[in-house]
């Protein structure tokens, strides 16, 4: 009896894992090409940009906030970095791009703190407005034109390596991902500031009264999110070698989707970057498998929405 109960508990907790295994088994049976080396490398590359953005978003959601501005940040960082490769050289461009992402995140947190906006709803609307500004600045900066890396004359070996290089069978972007995952996991679980973010998300009033610096948490949360979005942007445009000023559109919903599907609760306080990896894996594998199985792209959107709804619903059932 106890054993059965444990199994049920395990299934509820790791539903995503079960879903991933089921998905992989079905796909292998129907389409054995899934296991070919090309497809596995392909999955690793598809894993790229979304995983970075989702890792950043995890902290925002653990902290009990939400960030819709990642779409704008990705677009702006991508066009600025590509346009700076020629005049400044690739490494300074990379550094400036990533610093810009972190700064935009910091800007979000300053707007929120100065307004005293400490609820998810307020953060939602403020970051939505900020996103409109960032994406519009990206459009103005490029005059609406897509930036092509093939038009550049300068050296772009770093970006080529990020986009299509491999070490053995592991893609470079996946290595960067593993490094950031490790760093963020250590930050979240082993440092004071990382734990403070969890407490902030759990109960803001209680956290503040017990002396947790929640303002610092808010700044950290959004700066990390901006930083990770910027890394995601670099990985994204390196892979597709163009940077359109609307390149980031849709990433905010997909990132929230993968964080929540992974099992980080929207109420804040609970969650982990490792769970997010599972969520991203499910979303990426779903696209890959559905493409292999020949599901129409429209149906894929329906299924994604359905999975999001079911995941949140189950998450909520678990709480009660």
């Amino acid at each position: 009896m106890t054993k059965r109960f444990n199994l049920k508990d395990f299934l509820l907790n790791y539903l995503v894992l079960v879903a991933i295994v089921l998905l992989v088994i079905i796909t292998i049976i129907v389409e054995p090409k899934f296991l070919s080396g090309e497809n596995l490398t392909n999955i690793m590359r598809q894993f790229g940009p979304l995983s970075f953005v989702s890792l950043g978003m995890t902290f925002v959601i653990i902290g009990g906030f939400i960030d819709l501005s990642v779409a704008g940040i990705i677009s702006l960082v991508a066009v600025v970095t590509v346009s700076l490769i020629d005049p400044l050289g690739q490494v300074p461009a990379l550094i400036i791009g990533i610093a810009l992402g972190a700064f935009l995140g910091f800007l979000n947190s300053m707007v929120l703190i100065s307004a005293g906006a400490l609820t998810q709803a307020e953060a939602l609307f403020i970051t939505y407005g900020m996103s409109a500004v960032y994406s519009a600045v990206a459009l103005i900066y490029t005059d609406g034109a897509t930036q092509h890396m093939s038009w550049l004359t300068g050296d772009q070996s770093v970006f080529t390596a990020i986009g299509s290089g491999t070490v053995g069978i592991v893609s470079v972007s996946f290595l960067i991902f593993l490094v950031s995952l490790g760093a963020l996991w250590v930050f979240h679980n082993k440092t004071y500031n990382g734990r403070a973010i969890s407490y902030t998300g759990g109960n803001k009033v209680a956290a503040e009264l017990s002396g947790i610096p929640i303002k610092r948490s808010v700044i950290l949360i959004y700066t990390i999110c901006g930083l990770m979005s910027a890394i995601g942007a670099v990985v994204l445009f390196s892979r597709i070698t163009t940077a359109a000023p609307i390149i980031g559109k849709g990433y905010e919903t997909n990132a929230i989707l993968s964080v929540v599907v992974g099992g980080t609760t929207l109420k804040g306080g609970k969650g982990s970057v490792l769970r997010t990896v599972l969520g991203v894996l499910l979303i990426t594998l779903m696209s890959n498998c559905m493409n292999l199985l020949g599901v129409s792209p429209y149906m894929q959107v329906v299924l994604k929405g359905a999975i999001l709804v079911v995941a949140i619903w189950l998450d909520n059932r678990k709480e009660q």
Binding site: V302, K304, V309
Partner: protein, 324 residues
């Protein structure tokens, strides 16, 4: 009768002066006096009303859910869905009015599901309606194969594009009638008063004997139905149903509602506030078009205005918290 009118006037005046949105509108109206444009022509002003109508009607529904401390971000998808459904049904030979009725019912059905998930199952409204909105967007693309569909029956276009007496656009009239109906629902029925009560404090309302689940659930159904009405009107206005409409509608409308002063904490707000809030965004677009501001710069201005008004709102509440 006299006193009620006076009381009504006083009440609305007080509601107006408390609003930053009204100040924004007045500022824009005054600013436009200094530029030589076609802004102050009856044609343009009626056009503002006509352009605002679709979003306003959605906003009236969204206001109900926001008052109930909920949120409906699926309205963009619902708007699209009802337009596509009505056009496809009419094209397949169904009676026009029956098709429109079915389209509105489809919106109500989505609202029913949202209500079930949010009220009955107590999930987070923001994210769950984002999910249902995504799902419906997929359904829209599946229904139309991502192509725009146009209606073969020309009567359908006349619903939204006609003008009463050749002057006032039909759309403006629909907006006003629906607005008044929702206003009356909130103001003069026990249902409306219950909605405010449960938005203010859910548990207190529950223990005072209000059927909170049914009341809040019905707000979601109404929100879906009104979004569907707006979708039919939009499709009729453009004679096209397409799955690309409505991507930004939900957040835009919600922003308008919040800018107007309906608090997302629930229990506060109303139709008039939402009307004014959305008018700010609509007038802003119109003014910037009239002044010939480049579209990308317009987007910057819009973002800045939204952030500023919500910032002021939050800041005001923070000050109040610290005073007490």
């Amino acid at each position: 009768m006299q006193t009620t009118f006076a009381a009504f006037g006083k009440r609305s005046l007080r509601a107006l002066t408390r609003q930053k949105a009204v100040i924004a509108i007045l500022a824009m109206l005054i600013l436009m006096l200094f530029f030589k444009t076609n802004f102050y022509t009856s044609y343009n002003l009626l056009n503002v009303l006509k352009d605002a109508a679709v979003n306003e009607i959605i906003a009236f529904g969204v206001t109900l859910t926001v008052i109930a401390a909920g949120c409906d971000l699926s309205v963009g998808g619902v708007m699209c869905l009802s337009g596509i459904v009505s056009i496809q049904l009419i094209n397949s030979g169904m009676n026009m009015y029956l098709a429109i009725l079915l389209a509105v019912l489809s919106g109500a059905a989505v609202g029913f599901v949202n209500g079930f998930l949010v009220v009955q199952q107590k999930t987070e409204p923001f994210i769950i309606t984002l999910g249902t909105g995504m799902l419906i967007k997929g359904i829209n693309q599946q229904l139309t194969d991502a192509h725009p569909v146009s209606c073969t029956n020309m009567e359908f276009m006349k619903i939204a594009n006609g003008k009463i007496g050749g002057v006032i656009p039909n759309l403006a009239l629909y907006m006003i009638v629906i607005g008044l109906l929702v206003y009356a629902l909130l103001r003069y029925t026990s249902y409306g008063r219950n909605l405010y009560a449960l938005g203010g404090d859910y548990d207190v309302a529950k223990y005072s004997g209000i059927n909170v689940v049914k009341t809040k659930w019905f707000a979601f159904i109404l929100s879906g139905a009104l979004a569907a009405v707006a979708g039919v009107l939009l499709s009729s206005k453009l004679n096209t149903g397409s799955s690309i409409y409505g991507d930004d509608t939900a957040l835009m409308v919600k922003c308008g509602v919040v800018v107007g002063g309906t608090s997302f904490a629930g229990g506060v707000g109303g139709v008039l506030q939402s009307f004014i809030g959305l008018m700010v965004l609509q007038l802003l677009t119109n003014c910037m078009n009239m002044l010939g501001i480049a579209p990308y710069l317009q987007q910057v201005c819009q973002g800045v205005v939204i952030v500023t008004i919500i910032w002021l709102d939050c800041y005001g509440r923070k000050r109040k918290r610290e005073d007490v």
